[in-house]
């Protein structure tokens, strides 16, 4: 279980390859990468991500541990950035390795749903025309009921 909360950029492809190389015996690796999207109008300066340092890593570890147990994962990786992120930069990634594809897919999907609504991160859009905290979506909260 590899959990990293950091301001620094990371290379999703290199991380995915290292993760796969370390999980020999797994037949299936799923990755999710979240990327900063510009606004429709192209006004985004950056996304500011705040987090709760005392709680972030431990809450992600708890979520990841549940995924490992539930889908018998061989390995799991979560990287989540905080601080100021420019459009096009990777915000975070999740990778899951399992013997078969169903477990790897379900676990990555589950992890994303929980990271969206249960890990202590908050996003603020800093635009050329103002700044606003991103509202949580009702559909993200609703997605948790799938699990």
């Amino acid at each position: 279980m590899d959990i990293r909360v950091q301001p620094a950029t990371f290379d999703p492809g290199a991380e995915a390859n290292a993760f796969t190389a370390a999980s020999r015996g797994s037949g299936a690796v799923v990755t999710f990468t979240g990327i900063v999207r510009d606004t429709e109008a192209g006004t985004l300066r950056h996304l500011e991500i705040e987090h709760y340092p005392g709680m972030t890593a431990s809450s992600i570890k708890a979520i990841a541990g549940e995924a490992v147990a539930r889908w018998s994962l061989d390995a799991v990786l979560v990287i989540h950035r905080h601080g100021a992120l420019a459009p096009g930069e990777a915000i975070m990634m999740v990778a899951t390795a399992a013997r078969h594809r169903a477990g790897a897919f379900a676990a990555a999907d589950f992890l994303m749903d929980y990271l969206k609504s249960r890990a202590p991160f908050w996003k603020k859009e800093v635009r050329t025309d103002g700044a606003d905290w991103v509202d949580a979506k009702a559909e993200d909260e609703a997605a948790l009921s799938r699990w």
């Binding site: 709760y52 005392g54 709680m55 249960r118 509202d135």
Partner: protein, 83 residues
């Protein structure tokens, strides 16, 4: 009792502080929040819609009816938007 209060995102911005230590006789997290809201306008503003608030007690997600006994750290924030 004395407890550390942490604020995040727009709760932090409205209150104007990332953290503070408070003395309280409140029995629950919800009572403490109501107590603060009555104290100053900026708290009233931050806590005006309780349904928009989430709380963590000693770094675990919790709820407004959580008792304060033995608690050291309470965080108050909007619904999380990670991922």
């Amino acid at each position: 009792m004395t407890v550390d209060l942490l604020y995040f995102a727009w709760v932090r911005e409205r209150i104007g502080l990332p953290r503070e230590r408070v003395d309280t006789d409140a029995a629950t997290v919800g009572e403490l929040i109501t107590e603060l809201a009555a104290r100053e306008e900026r708290y009233a503003l931050a806590f005006s819609d309780l349904s928009a608030l989430r709380v963590a007690v000693d770094q675990e997600l919790s709820s407004l009816d959580a008792p304060l006994t033995g608690v050291r750290e309470i965080a108050v924030f909007p619904p999380m938007t990670g991922g």
